[in-house]
């Protein structure tokens, strides 16, 4: 079911892998008084898969549209492979774009759709047919070339759109929430296939999504955006495990946020007074602001025996919900509501309602961050 039908390898007809660096320098977009994108600095290295992640209105799609050339930036510079493209129309930027609803030409067959870019580039008929067929083969649709887009399923349309965006060896690929219209299972399959394809071709990808799971699964680097600004950027694990603000922590998955005051900071570690939860040793990545909190992911909170050394506190169980693979426990401790998540297999019959509980966490799994909201 999840076997990949997209095969990796050099781009058909060229024998070379496309690479492309995208660089944004202090790029802004103003609509009248509204600032959609605010002095953004962003670099996509050749072959890198970078995801712009943020809620709607964060400026992520506007940023991509400016790179593609559909929106004009009001300030700053955009460079592709070191060359400024600010004045180039979209057709001269040599970027493959996959749109949210694929935007396949409805009156053309799948093959004609894929051929289109080559036709625009005046590639001879026989050659462009061959290259288009190879591109369709690559996405596992070699036999579907004659079909019109409406005769294809959502996943197949998605693959045609990918083949169409790749067939002309673009400098980079821009993907605008390309999986939004697919169901969960197909979405996960396509995520793997796109990732495999991207790695095989060594092509740079700028990917836009509001889906944090998708960003985690596919990216080399996640750029979290909010209100037109980058709030944090880094490899998926780093952004997830070490959020710099409470907003990033909550946007990427569930977390327990406990406000506290810093007692001591020494490089990698800090000691924080968590009020009712006592003193805690936590990881410190140098976040600085006015108010602080500690973020502990629900899966990093553990039931402990009181004897265990380290961070911990007494807690009372409020409710337990079995979610299939995991169990979610709601607790109160020291005046805070906490969430603890553990594997169902670890959980069975261990907790009795009247039992006095003790929860704890490892110092390196608790993160000091800035409380913004």
């Amino acid at each position: 079911m999840t076997a990949s039908v997209i095969s990796a390898g050099p781009i058909p007809g060229t024998g070379r892998a496309a690479q492309g660096a995208i660089e944004l320098r202090q790029v802004s977009k103003h609509y009248g008084d509204v600032v959609a994108v605010d002095e953004l600095d962003l670099t996509v290295q050749p072959g890198e898969f970078v995801t712009l992640l943020g809620p709607s209105g964060s400026g992520k799609t506007t940023t991509m549209m400016m790179v593609a050339g559909f929106e004009e930036h009001t300030a700053g510079a955009i460079l592709i492979d070191g060359k400024p493209v600010d004045t180039l129309p979209p057709r001269d930027r040599n970027l493959g774009v996959v749109f949210q609803n694929y935007a396949l030409f409805p009156h053309m067959s799948a093959l004609e759709n894929v051929e289109f870019a080559l036709r625009m580039r005046k590639v001879p008929r026989a050659e462009r047919r061959q290259r288009a067929e190879e591109a369709l083969d690559r996405v596992g649709l070699g036999k579907m070339g004659g079909r019109k887009p409406r005769q294809l399923s959502g996943g197949q349309q998605q693959r045609v759109a990918l083949a169409r965006a790749l067939v002309f060896n673009p400098a980079a690929l821009l993907l605008d929430e390309p999986m939004a219209a697919l169901d969960k299972r197909l979405r996960e399959q396509m995520q793997e296939e796109i990732k495999t394809l991207q790695k095989g071709l060594g092509i740079s990808v700028l990917f836009v999504t509001h889906d944090q799971d998708e960003a985690m699964a596919m990216s080399d680097r996640i750029v979290v955006m909010r209100d037109g600004k980058i709030v944090q950027s880094g490899p998926p694990e780093e952004v997830y495990n070490h959020p710099m603000t409470d907003w990033v922590a909550s946007f990427l998955g569930d977390t327990n946020l406990i406000p506290g005051t810093i007692v001591e900071r020494n490089g990698e570690e800090a000691v924080v007074d968590l009020g009712g939860l006592g003193m805690a040793k936590v990881r410190d990545r140098g976040a600085s602001g006015e108010n602080y909190a500690v973020s502990i992911r629900p899966e990093h909170l553990k039931f402990r025996t009181r004897a265990t050394a380290g961070n911990g506190c007494a807690a009372t169980l409020v409710s337990s919900t079995n979610l299939g693979a995991t169990v979610r426990h709601r607790l109160t401790a020291g005046g805070h509501d906490l969430q603890l998540r553990e594997l169902s297999s670890d959980s069975a019959a261990r907790i009795r309602p009247d039992e006095e509980l003790w929860v704890g966490w490892d110092a390196d799994k608790a993160q000091l961050l800035v409380l913004e909201s």
């Binding site: 057709r91 970027l95 774009v97 609803n101 030409f105 009156h107 625009m120 002309f168």
Partner: protein, 275 residues
């Protein structure tokens, strides 16, 4: 078509008389044109194609028919060019004064024709452009343009804006975008707009009357002048001709729509079984 539902029967009871009321006066000219008589009479006394033959043998009538077709050709070509480009140009754009621009394009539909006729008459006299079919064709183009604009705009409503962007990102310039993205989508609207433009011009009498000259007398003008002095079945023949042209135009349009529908809607049904 069985009408078992009492509501359907009720609907038929009301709509059939209304339909006949609308259609009969139009349809009546056909038997009158085929009447075996030297005058316009009804009911017809016998069937004959004498009047039809007489119509096509009469230079005055055939040149009126030619003049009408020429003015319609001018109106269709200019109306389609102006109406379609206006619709595409204004599609999805918002700018100050846009409602005024749209109002200007649609104005010829609302301004009384006689006012336009007077204005065109004075204008073409003042620039010395009289005595040919061209000014009539140009005037017809003005009143035909809003129809093409409206039908094209309606078909553009179904255009996914991302299609334009994806064509651009794939290397298409403005002309390629027009040809590969806009044209296939606006084609039905363009065709019905062209048919509207044609029938508006063929039917137009007031402006043609104002600007008529010996070399530029359109069919409706010829009918109008003859009906006062020279009441012959040839008038009925020309009416029948106009009705047939309109009917053929309508049928062509229906055929086009049906063909398009069958090529776009039938296949997915056949395919959905496989996927």
């Amino acid at each position: 078509m069985k009408t078992t539902n009492p509501q359907h029967r009720m609907l038929a009871l009301l709509s059939i008389p209304a339909f006949l009321f609308l259609v009969i006066p139009t349809a009546i000219v056909v038997p009158v044109a085929l009447n075996d008589s030297r005058y316009i009479t009804f009911p017809p006394e016998g069937i004959s194609f004498a009047a039809v033959a007489g119509f096509f043998a009469d230079r005055a009538w055939t040149s009126a028919l030619t003049a009408s077709l020429q003015s319609a050709a001018i109106a269709v070509v200019i109306g389609v060019l102006l109406g379609a480009t206006a619709a595409i140009g204004l599609h999805g754009r918002k700018f100050p004064g846009q409602p005024a621009v749209v109002g200007l394009i649609l104005a010829p539909m609302i301004v009384p024709t006689v006012v336009l006729a007077l204005a065109f008459y004075q204008f073409f006299i003042s620039i010395g452009m009289v005595g040919s079919i061209v000014p009539i064709g140009l005037a017809h183009a003005v009143i035909a343009t809003p129809y093409v604009y409206l039908t094209t705009r309606a078909s553009l409503a179904g255009l996914n804006p991302a299609l334009v962007r994806s064509a651009q990102s794939l290397g298409a310039g403005p002309l390629s975008v027009l040809r590969h993205v806009y044209l296939p989508i606006i084609l039905p609207g363009l065709i019905s707009g062209a048919l509207f433009a044609f029938s508006v011009s063929i039917d137009e009498t007031v402006m043609s009357l104002f600007m008529q000259s010996p070399g530029a007398t359109t069919l409706p003008v010829k009918m109008f002048t003859d009906i006062q002095f020279n009441l012959t079945p040839k008038i009925a023949v020309s009416s029948a001709l106009l009705v047939s042209v309109a009917t053929i135009g309508l049928l062509l349009q229906v055929l086009f729509v049906l063909k398009r529908r069958s090529s776009t809607r039938m296949l997915p049904l056949a395919v959905s079984a496989q996927t």
